[in-house]
Symmetry: C2
Subunit: 349 residues, 2 copies
Amino acid sequence: MAKTRARWQSGTTIKDVATHAGVSPMTVSRVLNNEPVVKPATRSRVMEAVKELNYRPNFSARSLAKARSFFIGLLYDNPSAGYVSEFLDGAVRRCRADRYHMVLENCSEADEEGGDLITETLSQANVDGVIILPPVSNNPSVIQAVENLGLPYVRIAPDGEENDAPAVGINDYEAAYQMTRHLIDLGHSQIGFIKGHPNQGSSHERYRGFADAMAAAGLTVDRASVAQGYFDFRSGIEATEALLSGDNRPTAIFASNDDMAAAAITMARKFDLEVPEDLSVVGFDDTPIAGTTWPALTTVRQPIAEMAEAAVGVLIRDLKGDSDAPVQKRWLLDCTIVERDSSAKPKPS
Amino acid sequence: MAKTRARWQSGTTIKDVATHAGVSPMTVSRVLNNEPVVKPATRSRVMEAVKELNYRPNFSARSLAKARSFFIGLLYDNPSAGYVSEFLDGAVRRCRADRYHMVLENCSEADEEGGDLITETLSQANVDGVIILPPVSNNPSVIQAVENLGLPYVRIAPDGEENDAPAVGINDYEAAYQMTRHLIDLGHSQIGFIKGHPNQGSSHERYRGFADAMAAAGLTVDRASVAQGYFDFRSGIEATEALLSGDNRPTAIFASNDDMAAAAITMARKFDLEVPEDLSVVGFDDTPIAGTTWPALTTVRQPIAEMAEAAVGVLIRDLKGDSDAPVQKRWLLDCTIVERDSSAKPKPS
DNA sequence: CTGTTAGCGCTTTCAA
DNA sequence: TTGAAAGCGCTAACAG
C-alpha cells in the first residue's frame, strides 16, 4: 500500500478541477485568485467544480510559486499575559481579512543566543514579515537579526527612536495627562504619583504627563508626592506606604500601572483609609486585575487590539508593496479612561 | 528591472550550495536534513558552503515536496489571558525542538459561522495538525470541521469523553482533593466551598474532589457550606456572603478559582474577619491575581505549559507516524498546591 | 555513500 | 479571454 499522502491534503489538485470544469489549470488558478479577466460563465463553471470536488488549494505550492508565505511572525517574550492574548486577538482578526496567518515565536532565549536562534527560527518559519512586541521591540540583537534576514517588520511600543522602521505605540504622555486631569477635575489637589520601572520609556512618559498636567493646573509636585515603583505589586506597597506616611497626605494616588494601584488600595486599608472616600486610587493598563480590586479600579485602557490591527495593517500594506508613497513611520494611538469605583471627589475636610 | 524576489528569500538555493561544495543538490538536501548516511568529510564541506553562501532553505519548497508544512494550528477562543500565553510558551518551546511552528487561529466567531470559517481558515493555514484549547475543545462544530479536514488534533481539557481523539488535561478531582486535605490537615473542619460554573466539567470534578476528601475525613458537607459561583469575581462576592452569613460560619473557604477566592478575601473584611487568622481562603488556577491579593493566595497551580508540551508532543509523534502502537488517548497531568499566605491553622476558639 | 530523474501543486510568462 | 510551457526550490525513489 502506498504511503498515504499527508492527511491535510484533500488530494484533489487544481488539475482535477480544471478537467472537471473543462478548462485549463491556469484558468482555475485565475478564478481562485479573483483575477478579473475571467469570463463570468467560465468563472462560475470553475466555482462549481471546486465545490463539487471539495477542492482546497495547497498553500505550500502557492507560496513556492509566489515567493510569499502569507505568514507573519510575532516575536514576543513574556509581557503581561493579558497583553499577548489581547494583541493576538486584534492581529489574528486583521490577518484574516487579507488571508494572512500569525506564527508565534518566543524570544525569551534571544539574549543568550545573541540573535542566532532568532535568525534560524525565523527563516524556518518562512514568514513574510514580523511584528515585534515589547520588550523584544527594544532588543537590539533581535532587531538586528530580523534586519539581516531582510524581513520587513513593525515594532510595538519601542522605547527610543533609534531607527526608522515603522512602530506602533500608545500615547503614554497624553493618557497620563488626561488621567491626572480626571483627578484634578474631581477636586483633588494633593495627588501622589507612583512611578514605573525606570528602565522603560513609558514610565518616563507617564510621569511627564502627570507632571505637566499638575503644572498646567497650577499644582505643585514635591518630592514627597512622588514615589518610585517598579511596576510590581510589592513595590506598589512600599511606594504607597511612603506616600501615605508623609505629612501632607495625598487625597489621590495615581499609580503607573494596575498592579501598583491594586497595592495602593490594599495599603490604604492598613492606614484605615476608605477608597475612594478618603483616598482615590487610579491605575494604568486596565489589566484583568482592575476588575478584581475592591472597589473596582479606575484606570487607563490601552487599545492593544487596535495596535495589533494597525501593526498588521502596516505590515501587509508594506508586503503588498502598493504604497509607493513614503510610509508614515510612527503611530501613537490614544487610550481611554475607564472610570470605575476607585476614584471620587475628595471628602470636604 | 525584474520584480525583486520576496525579501525573505536569501536568493541562494540548494543548487548553488551544491555547486559551491562540488556535490549534488541531493547530497546537500541530505546534510540539511541530518540524514546519517552522508560521509563526514562531505558533510562538513557542504556545511561550509552553506555558511559561506549564507544559505537559507526555502520552507515552502520543502513543505511542498514533503507534503508537510511543519505548522501546527492552535485553535483558541478567549480563555483567561494568562492561560493562552502560558500555553503558548510551552507549545512554542516544544515545537522548536522538532522544527515545528505554531499558527494561531481565533475561533470566537465559530459559533455563528458553524465551522465553515474554521474550515476555510484552517485549510489556508496549511497546518499539519491542530491543538484545541478550551472552551473550543468542547465546541462540536469546530471539532467536526477539523475532522472533516482530516487533520489530526489534540484537545486540551475537554469536558466529556464523547470522542476518542487524544486529549490532555489536568486532574481536577485529585487537585481539589489534595487542596481540601491541605485545609483539613491544618485543622479545619468547617470548610465552605464555592462551586464553579455548572456548564464546565471541571466545576463538577473540583466539587467531587472536595466532597470526597471531606467524606474521607469524616467531615460533613451540608447545604449551608456550599455556595454556587460562576467563576467570576462578582459571583464570588455573593457566594462568600452566603457562606459567611450562616450560623455555622466556616473557618476556611475553598473557592473553585482564584477570582472567586480574591472575592472571598475581599468579602472577609466586610465581616471583620482577618485572613488567614479568622478565615483561611484558598483558590484554584494560580492566575496572576493570586499574587496580587492580600494576603497572597494559597492556590492550585495548573501545569499549563507542561500540558502544552505534552499536547504538541503527542501531535508531533502522531504526525511522524512512528508510533504504531495504539496511542494513549487521554493524559491527566497533576497539579501542585502553592502555599502562600491566605491559609493557616484555624484560631483555637 | 552519492547522483539522477521526476515530480510536489501552483503560478509566471508568453503566445494564441 | 484562455492555454501551453517552464519553472519556483526542494525531496522521494531508485540506481549505481
